[in-house]
């Protein structure tokens, strides 16, 4: 909020070229600490400033293209003279403990909002004042309503320029507008305005922050739950009206989270698989899976052949003739008659031509079987292969 306050000042000073705003703020700062005396002189000057500020808020609001909040902002200029008088009287009647917040209430404008973060650097202090303001008087409610709508409108306009503050700013203004919505439903036709303010804040949040999270979720629910969780202590009363939707939204949120976790796990494993597969240029899941299937089959065949070759070589090295020395124990799926692919082993086209693990090159098959037959004691290759099948030891 501090930043927002600062940026308010900058905006106003730049657009209006009025340095008198700052002196106002400084004087109000003094008010907070010193007392009520200085305030009275401020109120008159402020009235002229208020309308300008509200006009600016209007401008920024129209820039953001929200008609309803514009209509809201049109209220304040009309009501200002009355309310400031009320507040000035109210102000003097208040007790010292209320000094700080009432000094705030005297200035319902954005300047007051600007002042607050200036005088009170801690963000938590920003939140209690709205509460106090709302309980002061009915006129105060209206005032705060317009103030806070001006906050909602102006805040988001700065969100774009100050992305780090976005969430806090908009959520703050968003919560205020929501608070207003609850309090003001009976008073004015504020419910529509409140909802517009809420939705407005939500849209701005998404626009400014551009988070994938908020765009993926059901927007209202997540916004509500997040805000209520983060600022429920300060605001209060929200949970009563939102418990039903909160439960539903929480369940949906939990489901979404678990679904997302599952998907993330699957995507991660898909990436690992893609890295394992050599020369895999595909990025979509189906083709990666297909490639993986082909690669696995080719690997199995390759191993089988190598086992036989090694058996053969061992047989040749030692003058013993026995078939299938150490059959690959993990290859079990060779139910169809397995014929070895042509040499060289495991080039991809060979495997792709052999969906049923059957070599389509009978000549080379013959050669292989001849060779193997010679050195494996005359066994035809298929029998040697079939002997491989039944063993199912895990080699891991």
């Amino acid at each position: 909020m501090e930043h927002q306050g600062w940026s308010f000042e900058e905006n106003y000073s730049l657009s209006t070229n009025r340095r008198s705003i700052r002196p106002h703020d400084e004087l109000v700062e003094l008010l907070w600490r010193d007392g009520q005396v200085v305030l009275q002189s401020q109120t008159h000057r402020e009235q002229t400033q208020k309308q300008e500020h509200h006009e600016e808020a209007l401008r920024s609001n129209t820039f953001l293209e929200d008609q309803e909040t514009v209509s809201w902002l049109q209220y304040p200029p009309d009501e200002d003279p009355f309310e400031t008088d009320d507040f000035s009287s109210h102000f003097f009647s208040t007790v010292d403990p209320l000094q700080r917040p009432t000094s705030e209430t005297v200035k319902p404008n954005p300047p007051q909002v600007m002042v607050k973060p200036k005088a009170c650097p801690d963000p938590p202090q920003v939140m209690p004042p709205p509460k106090l303001r709302l309980t002061n008087s009915p006129s105060g409610i209206r005032e705060t309503e317009m103030e806070q709508y001006s906050v909602t409108t102006i805040g988001p306009s700065h969100c774009g320029s100050n992305p780090s503050q976005n969430d806090f700013d908009v959520s703050m203004s968003h919560d205020r507008s929501k608070n207003i919505e609850e309090k003001l439903n009976p008073n004015v036709s504020s419910s529509s305005g409140g909802s517009s303010g809420c939705s407005f804040g939500k849209d701005i949040k998404e626009m400014a922050c551009g988070r994938s999270i908020t765009t993926d979720r059901k927007r209202k629910h997540i916004m509500d739950t997040d805000d209520s969780v983060s600022l429920s202590d300060a605001i209060g009363n929200k949970s009563n009206q939102r418990s039903g939707s909160n439960r539903r939204s929480r369940a949906a949120e939990v489901h979404n989270l678990s679904e997302r976790r599952r998907r993330d796990r699957i995507n991660e494993r898909m990436k690992a698989l893609q890295e394992l597969i050599p020369h895999c240029s595909k990025t979509d899941k189906a083709s990666i899976l297909e490639e993986a299937i082909d690669y696995l089959k080719s690997l199995q065949l390759q191993l089988q052949v190598m086992w036989m070759g090694s058996g053969m070589a061992a047989a040749a090295a030692a003058p013993m003739m026995f078939p299938g020395v150490q059959p690959p124990p993990f290859i079990r799926q060779m139910q169809s008659p397995v014929q070895l692919p042509r040499f060289p082993v495991m080039d991809r086209s060979a495997i792709q031509n052999n969906p049923g693990l059957v070599c389509q090159n009978p000549i080379q098959n013959q050669i292989i079987s001849d060779r193997f037959a010679r050195y494996i004691g005359g066994f035809p290759q298929m029998q040697a292969a079939t002997q491989v099948r039944p063993i199912r030891r895990r080699v891991y």
Partner: protein, 92 residues
């Protein structure tokens, strides 16, 4: 919902769920252990993928071991013998 998902993963809308199920089933048939003993509908896709990765790594390791062994055997066999030719072609 699917629109949102498609924004996250580029391939989601074009590939049908049935297609994925088919592929996963095929994969499970190749893999040892999984899909053989268990009931077919209880294995999750991520588990299948993990098993596939592990299996590929194991097979690769096996191939390396065998290649080493074959190369050793090659040395013990006469250079001109047909076995050498076979082994050499295996090792390619």
């Amino acid at each position: 919902m699917s629109n949102r998902r498609s924004r996250q993963s580029s391939s989601a809308p074009r590939i049908s769920d049935d297609q994925m199920i088919d592929l996963v089933t095929k994969l499970r048939q190749i893999l040892p252990e999984i899909g053989q003993r268990r009931r077919s509908d209880k294995v999750s896709a991520s588990k299948v993928l993990q098993e596939t990765c592990n299996y590929i790594r194991n097979l690769n390791r096996e191939v390396n071991n065998l290649s080493e062994r074959l190369s050793q055997l090659l040395e013990s066999v006469d250079e001109d013998s047909p076995e050498a030719a076979v082994i050499r072609s295996l090792l390619m």
